[in-house]
């Protein structure tokens, strides 16, 4: 078991390095002089050259990479051109927004997926099953922003019950917070439910075929015990892994939703960075988000592994 953990750890580190490599070098290819971008078009060549040197941009690339990497470890991601602030601070400020909607969306998606996934598997080929499977397919095909726009019109404007833009921090007002994240989270959840439902359904179907289901039935236990204690328990490994992966992916892919709902999260920050070619900000953001994805995935993998009792070692003596 321990060797597995170490293994996963090792490969995560390697991947992190590769990611940092790709992130840094890809973005360095951009033509244009960052120093010039900062100072503007009417700066003198000397000023530009000075800033250029001060920013360390005249060193060989690999040196720049290494110093960037070292700074990263100190949690210093440089200074954004656009905002003029420390990238680290900008990211820290945006994390609560993105995480709130991601977590909320995940909770919603998990709830719905388990509910319909289990029903779908237990009552295979019934109307409920077909209904669930249609949700599955549709959820993957409907662009999230389309739903977002529709929701904005209906819930925000016509019914006027939920805000359509802006984020209310939880410290300010709990109710306001909840209301401001509801619509975006629901929209995000719709995108994730499909995949999760499919995995849960499939795992449940496999579990229901196992011999221990005979045992549960012969013992005449209640339906709840049969399906939850026995069937579901045997069907959890795959879904839990997927949930972790989805959450990680979600946290990294909220750009569009944040744009539509005007939420000041990480995604919006990325868009700004791309639009303005703010390399420093973009490098920091991409590195942070991707690192987050990798770490969350690692954490989930290890947790799921712990849930599987086979991994734990026991002594076996005389019985």
């Amino acid at each position: 078991m321990l060797s597995y953990v170490l293994d996963r750890f090792k490969s995560s580190i390697v991947v992190l390095f590769v990611v940092s490599f790709i992130t840094f070098f890809v973005l360095m290819i951009i033509p244009g002089n960052p120093a010039q971008l900062i100072l503007g078009t009417d700066a003198t060549p000397e000023a530009i050259a000075e800033l250029h040197a001060a920013m360390g941009l005249d060193r060989p690339l690999y040196q720049q990479y290494l110093s960037w990497l070292l700074d990263l470890l100190k949690l210093d991601m440089g200074r954004s051109y656009v905002y003029g602030e420390s990238v680290t601070v900008l990211i820290a400020r945006s994390i609560p927004v993105t995480f709130s909607i991601s977590i909320f969306a995940m909770i919603l998606a998990v709830f719905i997926a388990f509910l319909f996934g289990m029903i779908s598997a237990i009552k295979k080929n019934s109307i409920a099953d077909y209904f669930s499977r249609s949700i599955m397919q549709l959820g993957a095909a409907i662009p999230s922003f389309w739903i977002g726009m529709v929701f904005i019109v209906y819930f925000g404007v016509k019914l006027k019950i939920l805000p359509v833009s802006g984020f209310v921090p939880i410290e300010q007002s709990f109710a306001g917070f909840v209301k401001s994240i509801t619509l975006p989270s629901v929209v995000l959840a719709i995108g994730e439910v499909g995949t999760l439902l499919r995995i849960i359904r499939s795992s449940m179907l496999d579990s229901l075929k196992q011999d221990y289901m005979d045992m549960a039935r012969v013992k005449g236990l209640s339906a709840g015990k049969i399906y939850i204690k026995y069937a579901l328990r045997g069907a959890l490994t795959a879904p839990l892994t997927i949930i972790g992966m989805q959450f990680a992916k979600l946290a990294g892919g909220t750009v569009v939703i944040e744009t539509i709902f005007a939420l000041p999260g990480l995604g919006r920050l990325v868009l700004t960075a791309v639009e303005h070619r703010d390399i420093v900000l973009l490098q920091g953001l991409v590195m942070f988000i991707t690192a987050m994805v990798i770490i969350i995935t690692l954490f989930v993998d290890i947790s799921v592994m712990f849930l599987n009792p086979r991994i734990k070692k026991f002594q076996q003596g005389e019985l």
């Binding site: 221990y212 039935r217 026995y230 328990r233 019985l319």
Partner: protein
């Protein structure tokens, strides 16, 4: 006489294909009843039909199914489920995944007992410990904390037996209980069954392809071939006077130390038919050395009331 199981004219079909045809048997209270036959003869399905455990794709019909005093044909699903859980213990063929691999023994072995007998977990664990001890574990407390995959096949089988006994059932169905075990363990397990039967007076339906085993341990038996019961009766009766050619051959086949050197082992040529089990003629026709023309079209059923000896054959 009190009968634990009364089965009359059971038919099991998968779509159009008949798997079990017109099977009938009666298990008396307190007896060990052996159900013998090759793989695919329908033994497990028959047993499952008695306890309402048939897989969903199959359809079945019968004149009578009375299990542990309850009419299975007229009872509702909930009633059946309650009744079986309380009164029947089932020990399946395959032990590998019968116990849930992710749940500790202690949590699986007690839940049926708690549900039906309305006891607390502590009381249930006490009883489980006692039963585990009875089935041969020297340290039941440790076993309870184990996961199934930490135990050997024989140990798992014994856990199954203990679990089956929790509710003091009236009937235990043991499906090929010794097939996956070493011969020494086989002996232990079978003696355990015998002990349980004698001490607790519960009926056991012993399913096996091993006629030798059945001969040694059962009071009555039924021989199944291709979904039909071709002969049944008291074990002594059937063995001393087997009427059906198939039974006769099976008895001959039992390996024993008494065969002469260089005498070829007996075998029955041919295969068990998968289809056409519902024909009017004899289903053993193709492989029977004593077959007559008439056997293609009809089979006579004989019941000897005195000895309760039943067989389906055109021979006397």
């Amino acid at each position: 006489m009190n009968e634990t199981v009364v089965l009359k004219a059971l038919n099991i079909k998968a779509g159009d294909n008949t798997l079990v045809n017109n099977a009938s048997l009666i298990i008396e209270e307190g007896e060990i009843f052996g159900l013998v036959g090759e793989s695919g003869s329908g033994k497990t399905l028959t047993a499952k039909a008695i306890i309402n455990l048939l897989p969903k794709g199959l359809s079945y019909s019968a004149d009578k199914i009375i299990t542990a005093g309850k009419n299975m044909l007229t009872a509702s699903t909930e009633e059946k489920s309650e009744h079986i859980g309380k009164n029947i213990g089932y020990i399946p063929q395959n032990t590998v995944f019968y116990l849930h691999p992710m749940i500790k023994i202690k949590n699986q072995i007690v839940d049926g007992y708690i549900h039906h007998m309305h006891k607390t977990k502590a009381e249930a664990l006490e009883k489980a410990e006692a039963l585990l001890y009875k089935v041969g574990f020297k340290h039941p407390k440790i076993v309870l904390n184990y996961y199934p995959w930490q135990l050997s096949g024989g140990m798992r089988q014994r856990c199954n037996i203990a679990m089956a006994l929790m509710n003091d059932p009236k009937l235990i169905i043991a499906d090929e209980p010794t097939t996956a075990l070493d011969s020494t363990v086989q002996r232990q397990v079978m003696n355990l069954f015998r002990t349980i039967n004698e001490e607790m007076k519960l009926s056991i339906l012993l399913i096996s392809h091993d006629l030798g085993l059945v001969k040694h341990y059962s009071h009555s038996l039924a021989v199944m071939y291709a979904g039909q019961i071709v002969e049944s009766g008291y074990t002594n009766t059937v063995f001393s006077n087997p009427k059906h050619p198939y039974t006769q051959l099976l008895i001959k086949i039992i390996p024993s130390l008494k065969i002469k050197k260089n005498e070829p082992l007996v075998e029955i040529p041919g295969f068990v038919p998968e289809k056409g089990r519902d024909i009017k003629g004899c289903v053993f026709f193709n492989r029977c050395s004593k077959a007559m023309d008439i056997c293609k079209d009809m089979v006579a059923e004989h019941i000897d009331d005195m000895q309760d000896h039943y067989y389906r054959c055109n021979l006397e």
